[in-house]
């Protein structure tokens, strides 16, 4: 990034995405009253009517919360990126990816059809791949992008299978239709496979242990991308899916235990690792994992407290996490480093950033009067309401929250208010206003909603909880002060534990680093997995792709022989009676011609003779077409035969002479295989002819060709009219084959010249 470039800016390309995101946000904002008063808003457009796929969109409470977060944070992130990447030579590309991602994500959360949802799901995977790999010059970016795509893509395959099973069990792909009949799904024999497959998709997308490792690596993306995709939106797609299908799938032991245990493990595991990081962005990435774990944990339950906690924490987390990521971007931009050990004393040079960071971090740490505090109280209430293991769950939440508090201090307090740990690469300076707008607005919202929880209670929380629990008025009230109760006591315990951890974090980090380095890593395991895959691929390629044409032909015809012979044997229809109708002399002549040609091909020692003899066989076949009234086919056959002979004659100039000795060794085997295939194919043709020919289609074409398609040549009418789409596919194949052959010939030629 050059200074001149920074001054130049991005022009209209930078402004358009901001305007689009803002317009979408205004639209969704205007829907709040309709949704909270009248329930879900639906729109439906037929898409693939033959498969009963519709572009059906539903905006209910849950979708609306997500849509507002996506478009709102999207607007701020676009604004931010326009300054952060000002004058970047590939900004247009970046803006396009980010906009596409936002649209895909919005499509995902408002989709009312499982298959449409899946398409949007994969679109977010693709755009995320492009965004993580945006700095494609660096090998680690490319690796991270590929890793993210492979992990989430593999999960998505499982998800697709799960969604198809779910659709077939419920008898509809409409999401609103499926969640209306949860009992049918839960009692079905396929419930567990459906659950496992869908959760595999959701867990990979939302980076639950053991699929978590791609998320910290995804921080290779530019910071605004991390803020948008890998904290506030995309990683929540998995959580969204679980919440969306909650009415259809929840309420069983499997659901409860899988989500509770994996969610709790992820939350604790991630918050411990978060404290170990010195890179601010990585520390935030791990706290994102913690948040995703907590959200999953709450979805395991179906009590009102847990679901209210889910909705509240979803909003709390998106607000403070996006704000903090953007703050880290500002710090990086202003100082040239993100190393927590180096950074310090930035409050004087970057006052606005410091305040925004502080407010967001207080919400993250769960101090009153911020929304984070309410979120935390509800988390404890929700955890205690998890009927099966309240102590275990509440304990996990307590540990995770305390660690979060410590991380919040490391990320947002220390760099600004404590003395610096070393020399900074750049002299600290405040970021420009478009980069401050995001953190300030998001942090402020965290405070405003905390003081005035009524602002989101009726508008967002209640409709959101209602759409997950499929009932009205189930949501719990959000209070700053709910009296002295168990959650409050746990909150106080969190503060004490968290502050202690923060005070000790330097020493803790040293210990954790030692443990972490000793423990086996998922990331290295991933590398080994990929290496293994590549090894298997090259092994089987060496095995199957010998590069010897003769062996390929042998394999193809061997396989043909075995499958056909086995089918014939298994179906065992008996040998049909051979009958020779009265053949005329011309028929016998053609048969003799073909047989003579075949024998010459098999016996000759000269390539030219073999090709010419093969041409004779082809001409014999063409004559048969002529006799039986298929002149078009005959002409084509003749022309193709001619061209093939010409082509082979051209190629033959380059081939060495036939090696008589080697060829003779092969011949008996080739003869046996050739005779075998010939016999089997003949048997099958006879079997086919033994059946009465179904002439319905032929009759139809004969009757309709002239009156409806105005053509007397039925073959041509079929090609260009009745079956025009097939023909189009065929000519596309012809073109692709020609281009591929051309490319291959050209490549080898250049290699030879080198």
């Amino acid at each position: 990034m050059t200074t001149a470039g920074e001054k130049r800016g991005n022009g209209i390309i930078g402004v358009l995405p901001i305007a689009l995101a803002a317009a979408l946000f205004v639209f969704f904002f205007s829907q709040i009253s309709a949704v909270s008063r009248f329930g879900p808003q639906m729109v439906s457009v037929p898409w693939v009517p033959a498969l009963d796929v519709q572009l059906a969109f539903t905006l209910d409470g849950l979708s609306l919360v997500f849509a507002l977060l996506i478009s709102g944070i999207g607007t701020l992130v676009m604004l931010y990126s326009n300054s952060y990447l000002a004058g970047h030579p590939q900004y247009a590309r970046f803006a396009l990816y980010l906009t596409l991602f936002m649209l895909a994500m919005l499509g995902l959360v408002v989709s009312d059809n499982l298959l449409a949802l899946f398409v949007f799901w994969e679109l977010t995977t693709l755009t995320s791949y492009l965004l993580i790999g945006f700095g494609h010059e660096s090998a680690s970016s490319r690796r991270s992008a590929l890793q993210a795509m492979l992990v989430t893509g593999a999960g998505a395959l499982a998800l697709l299978a799960g969604l198809i099973l779910l659709g077939s069990v419920a008898g509809t792909y409409s999401i609103s239709g499926i969640i209306a009949q949860g009992d049918v799904v839960r009692e079905h024999a396929l419930y567990v496979p459906i659950l496992v497959l869908i959760l595999a998709g959701a867990f990979t997308k939302s980076a639950q242990v053991p699929f978590h490792f791609w998320l910290p690596n995804a921080m290779a993306a530019p910071t605004p991308v991390s803020a948008f995709l890998h904290s506030a939106t995309m990683v929540k797609a998995g959580v969204y899916l679980m919440a969306r299908l909650h009415p259809a799938l929840s309420g069983t032991e499997v659901w409860l235990w899988t989500l509770t245990i994996l969610g709790a493990v992820t939350a604790v595991f991630a918050s411990v690792l978060a404290l170990r990081q010195t890179d601010l962005k990585l520390a935030l990435a791990y706290t994102t994992l913690m948040a995703l774990g907590t959200l999953t944990l709450f979805l395991g339950s179906d009590t009102e407290y847990a679901i209210t906690a889910f909705c509240t924490f979803l909003i709390v987390h998106s607000l403070y996490k996006a704000a903090l990521f953007l703050v880290v971007g500002c710090v990086d931009h202003g100082t040239g480093t993100r190393d927590a050990a180096l950074l310090g004393g930035l409050a004087r040079a970057m006052p606005v950033t410091a305040i925004a960071a502080g407010v967001a971090a207080l919400s993250m740490a769960g101090f009153p009067p911020f929304l984070g505090f309410i979120g935390k109280e509800l988390k404890y209430a929700g955890a205690l309401a998890v009927a099966s293991e309240p102590v275990l769950v509440a304990g996990a939440v307590l540990v995770a929250n305390a660690l979060m508090l410590a991380v919040a201090g490391v990320v947002s307090f220390k760099p600004f208010w404590r003395p610096a740990g070393g020399a900074l690469p750049d002299t600290p300076h405040e970021a420009p206003w478009p980069m401050l707008a995001g953190p300030v607005i998001l942090a402020a919202l965290g405070a405003v909603f905390g003081i005035q929880p009524d602002l989101i209670q009726a508008t967002l929380i209640n409709p959101g909880v209602d759409s997950i629990l499929r009932a009205r008025g189930e949501a719990k009230e959000l209070h700053l002060w709910a009296g002295v109760n168990l959650p409050l006591i746990l909150s106080v315990a969190t503060f004490i534990l968290g502050l202690t951890l923060y005070a000790l974090h330097g020493r803790l980090r040293a210990v954790l680093t030692r443990w972490d380095e000793a423990a086996p890593h998922f990331d290295t395991g991933w590398d080994r997995l990929l290496d293994g895959l590549k090894a298997v691929a090259s092994w089987q390629t060496r095995l199957l792709q010998s590069g010897v044409l003769r062996r390929y032909l042998l394999t193809i015809f061997g396989a043909l022989f075995v499958t056909l012979a086995w089918t014939l044997y298994a179906r065992s229809p008996g040998i049909p009676a051979l009958s020779f109708p009265d053949l005329e002399l011309k028929h016998w002549a053609i048969i003799a011609l073909i047989i003579a040609g075949t024998i010459e091909v098999a016996l000759t020692g000269s390539r030219v003779a073999a090709i010419a003899a093969l041409g004779v066989v082809g001409i014999g076949v063409a004559l048969i077409f002529v006799i039986y009234g298929a002149p078009d086919v005959a002409i084509t056959q003749l022309l193709v035969e001619t061209l093939v002979v010409v082509l082979i004659a051209v190629v033959m100039l380059r081939l060495p002479h036939l090696d008589e000795n080697r060829r003779r060794d092969w011949r008996p085997r080739d003869a046996v295989l050739g005779a075998g295939v010939g016999v089997v194919v003949t048997m099958i043709v006879l079997q086919v002819l033994a059946q009465p020919l179904d002439t319905r289609l032929t009759d139809y074409f004969e009757v309709t060709a002239w009156p409806e398609a105005f053509g007397r040549n039925i073959v041509n009418v079929i090609l260009v009219d009745f079956r025009a789409l097939d023909t189009f596919g065929e000519i596309a194949v012809v073109l692709i084959a020609a281009l591929a052959a051309y490319a291959l010939l050209r490549t080898t030629k250049e290699e030879v010249e080198k």
Binding site: P631, I635, L639, N716, L719, D721, I731, L735, Y742
Partner: protein, 139 residues
């Protein structure tokens, strides 16, 4: 191939084959023929020319890269198919225009089907020549 007889004869033969290929293309809807056969015959004309006078001269006579001809043909076929969509029918439904039709006499029939067949002709023609020229140059 340095055969003067072949070279002289080819100049007439190629021209005849090209004219014949267009004839086969146009009669295809009612008599044996059509875009596929026409394309093969047309390509044969240039293949012979390339054998007699060399690939470089054949390319020069063709003026356009054969792969471009094939790609254009695919585009024409696609447009002919999409045209039906514009007219409100399912894609690839034939659209007909009879100029000067009266009673039983259908006049001069023009159709999207013919345009589609011209696309097929160009794809086959271009693809075969792409392959043949590349192979001959390889040798």
């Amino acid at each position: 191939m340095n055969s003067l007889i072949l070279q002289v004869a080819t100049r007439y033969l190629s021209a005849l084959l090209l004219i014949f290929s267009v004839y086969m293309l146009l009669r295809g809807h009612n008599e044996p023929g059509g875009g596929f056969i026409g394309g093969l015959i047309g390509a044969t004309g240039f293949v012979i020319y390339a054998i007699a006078c060399g690939t470089a001269e054949a390319r020069a006579a063709l003026r356009v890269m054969p792969q471009n001809i094939a790609a254009t043909g695919l585009g024409i076929a696609l447009l002919a198919g999409l045209f039906a969509g514009v007219m409100g029918d399912a894609f690839f439904t034939g659209q007909w225009l009879f100029i000067g039709a009266s009673g039983e006499d259908k006049g001069l029939p023009l159709s999207s089907v013919l345009v589609f067949d011209i696309g097929v002709y160009l794809v086959v023609f271009g693809s075969v020549l792409t392959l043949v020229f590349a192979m001959e140059e390889e040798v």
